[in-house]
Homo-oligomer: 302 residues x 2
C-alpha cells in the first residue's frame, strides 16, 4: 500500500504544512475577516484638532416623501485633519502629492505593526525610536517595500476621552501664550522617521494617536521628514490592538478630494491571501500537491 | 526533466492550466496594478444631483507658517449623494444598514462587470434586463456570493459634460411642473433588480451612471428593491471600461459617517490573487484535493 506514496514526498513536508497553517490560525484576525481600522465621524464622538472647524452632519431628509416610502439624506462639513484621516504629502511638503495624486498602488500594502504600547503607557510623551524599529526588524525580518507601517501606542483606548487622548481638553488652541504645546500623547521621533526614510521603502506610516509628531511638537518635524519623501501619514487609526505584527495587508483608501491635503480615510486590514511572507511559495506547494494528488488518484484508479 | 513528472499526470492538464493563465493575462488590468474607480471631488468637475447642496472646498492654509515651512489644510462641505458615492441601504429602506453599519466584509468582493454599453449608446434610457444577467451567467458562470456587480453603461465617457451625463443640464430640480423626470441616462430595471435579489448573494451593485434607477424614474423602485435587502449601491463609478468581466476583486470603502445614508466612497479593483474568475473555487478545489491526498496517503500507510 505504501507504494502509492511517491517516494520523494516526505512526512516532514506535511508537518511543515501543518505548522504554517497553525501559525495562520493563531492570529487574532481570522482568515476572511476584515478588520476596520476606522473611527466613525459624528457630531458627538469625533474630536477635532484644537482650533480646527468641527465635523457637522445635518439631516436633509429622514422619513417618507411623496414619491418614496423612506428616504434618508444628509449633508456634512468637516476639516481634513481629524478623525481617522490621511495626511497627504502636500500637507507639510510643498510640491509633493496631494491626496488625489497619490498612486493608488501606494494605498495598499503589507501591514506592519510596531508595538510601543508599554512604553507609551509609562510615558505620555513617548516617541518611537530607531531602536524600536531595529528591534522589530531583528525579530520579524525586513520591513517590506510598499508597507503601511502602524505604530501601536495603545492610545486608541482613550479615543472617546478628549483629555486622556490629547493630554489637554481645550478645543480652541493647542499652544499656550508662550507658543508651547499644551498637548501630551505619543508619536514618532525625528530619528525614527529618518531611519524609515533611509532604510525602508514604506508607502505610509500610521499611528493610533492624534499625530505622527508627539504632543509637545510645535514644528511637526516628523511630518516634514516623511511627507517630503511622499510617504503619507495616517492618524487616529482605530483597532491597531487587533492588527497582527505581520501577515496582514492594509488598504487605506482616502476620500478623493481634488487638491486635498488629506482627509477622511477608510482603513481596513485582511490577512494576506496566502499567509505572511511566502505567499507565492505556499501556492507553489499547493500546486505541487495538486500534481502529486492527481498522480496518486489516477494510479489508484487505473 | 520528464523523470520528475509523476507518470499519471497528462500533458492536457498543463495545456488547460496554460489556457487559464493566458486568459488572466489577456485582461487590461495587470497583476499588481490598482484600478481607481473613483472620480475626485472638486468645486469644478463634481456635478451635484439637481437640487442638492454642492461640494465646496475652502482653503484654510496653503503656504508657510511661523512654525513650519509649508502647510496645506482645507475644509469642505458636501451632500452624501453625488460624485462617486455609496448608497447605504438606509438611504431608501427604513431600518436597514446606515453607511457605518455595513459589515466591512461586505465592502470587499469579487468584481463582476455586466456590459450593456452598446445598448445604452443606442438608448439613453436603457435599463439592465434580466436577460442581460442570465446571458452573463451563461457566458461566465454563476455570480459569486459576496460579489460587487458593476453595470457598465459607458456613461463614464460623459462624466465632465453635465448635459450628456444626466440628459438635462439644470442644477436646481430634476422634475418638471407635472412631476415627471427631466433626466435621461441608463440604469437597472426593476425586473433585473428582483432577479439579483432572487438569484444571487451580491453585497453591492454599482453603475457608471448617476443612479441605479434610470433617468426617467421618479419612485426609485430599484433602490427600494436592492436596499431593502441590505445590498448597497455605488453610483458614478469611474473607469468601469477598464474593469475585466471577471477576475478582479473590488474594494469599495466609504467614508465612515456615523448614521450616514451613504457618502463619498473610494473604490479600487485589483486582479484577484489566485487567477481569474473562480479564485475561491480554485482554492476550494486545492483544499479538497489536499484532504483526498492525505486520506489516500494515510490509507496507504496504515
Amino acid at each position: 500500500m505504501a507504494t502509492y506514496l511517491p517516494k520523494h514526498v516526505k512526512w516532514p513536508h506535511f508537518t511543515l504544512l501543518g505548522l504554517v497553517l497553525a501559525a495562520g490560525l493563531a492570529t487574532a484576525l481570522k482568515k476572511g475577516e476584515v478588520l476596520d481600522m476606522t473611527y466613525k465621524y459624528d457630531n458627538v464622538t469625533t474630536q477635532r484638532w484644537a482650533g480646527s472647524p468641527a465635523f457637522d452632519l445635518t439631516i436633509l431628509q429622514r422619513g417618507p416623501t411623496p414619491s418614496i416610502p423612506w428616504l434618508e439624506m444628509n449633508k456634512f462639513s468637516t476639516a481634513e485633519h481629524f478623525g481617522t484621516h490621511m495626511d497627504a504629502p502636500a500637507h507639510a511638503a510643498k510640491g509633493m502629492w496631494r491626496v488625489d495624486q497619490i498612486p493608488p498602488r501606494n494605498l495598499v500594502g503589507p501591514a506592519v505593526r510596531v508595538d510601543v504600547s508599554a512604553k507609551a503607557a509609562a510615558n505620555a510623551d513617548y516617541q518611537l525610536s530607531p531602536a524600536d524599529l531595529t528591534d522589530w526588524v531583528s525579530a520579524n525580518g525586513p520591513i517590506p517595500d510598499g508597507a503601511l507601517l502602524f505604530v501601536y501606542t495603545g492610545y486608541g483606548a482613550h479615543w472617546t476621552n478628549r483629555f486622556a487622548y490629547y493630554g489637554y481638553a481645550g478645543e480652541d488652541d493647542y499652544l499656550d501664550a508662550d507658543g508651547n504645546s499644551l498637548l501630551h500623547f505619543p508619536g514618532i521621533s525625528e530619528a525614527a522617521a529618518t531611519w524609515l526614510v533611509d532604510n525602508t521603502q514604506v508607502s505610509g506610516v500610521g499611528i493610533d494617536s492624534a499625530s505622527l509628531d508627539y504632543g509637545p511638537s510645535v514644528g511637526f518635524e516628523v511630518h516634514q521628514i516623511l511627507l517630503q519623501e511622499n510617504i503619507f501619514g495616517l492618524e487616529n487609526v482605530a483597532n491597531v490592538d487587533l492588527l497582527p505584527t505581520t501577515g496582514a495587508t492594509a488598504y487605506a483608501l482616502p476620500m478623493k478630494i481634488g487638491d486635498g491635503s488629506g482627509g477622511p480615510v477608510r482603513i481596513i486590514a485582511m490577512l494576506t491571501e496566502n499567509a505572511d511572507g511566502g505567499s507565492n511559495q505556499l501556492r507553489v506547494d499547493y500546486a505541487a500537491l495538486l500534481v502529486v494528488g492527481i498522480s496518486i488518484i489516477m494510479k489508484a484508479i487505473l
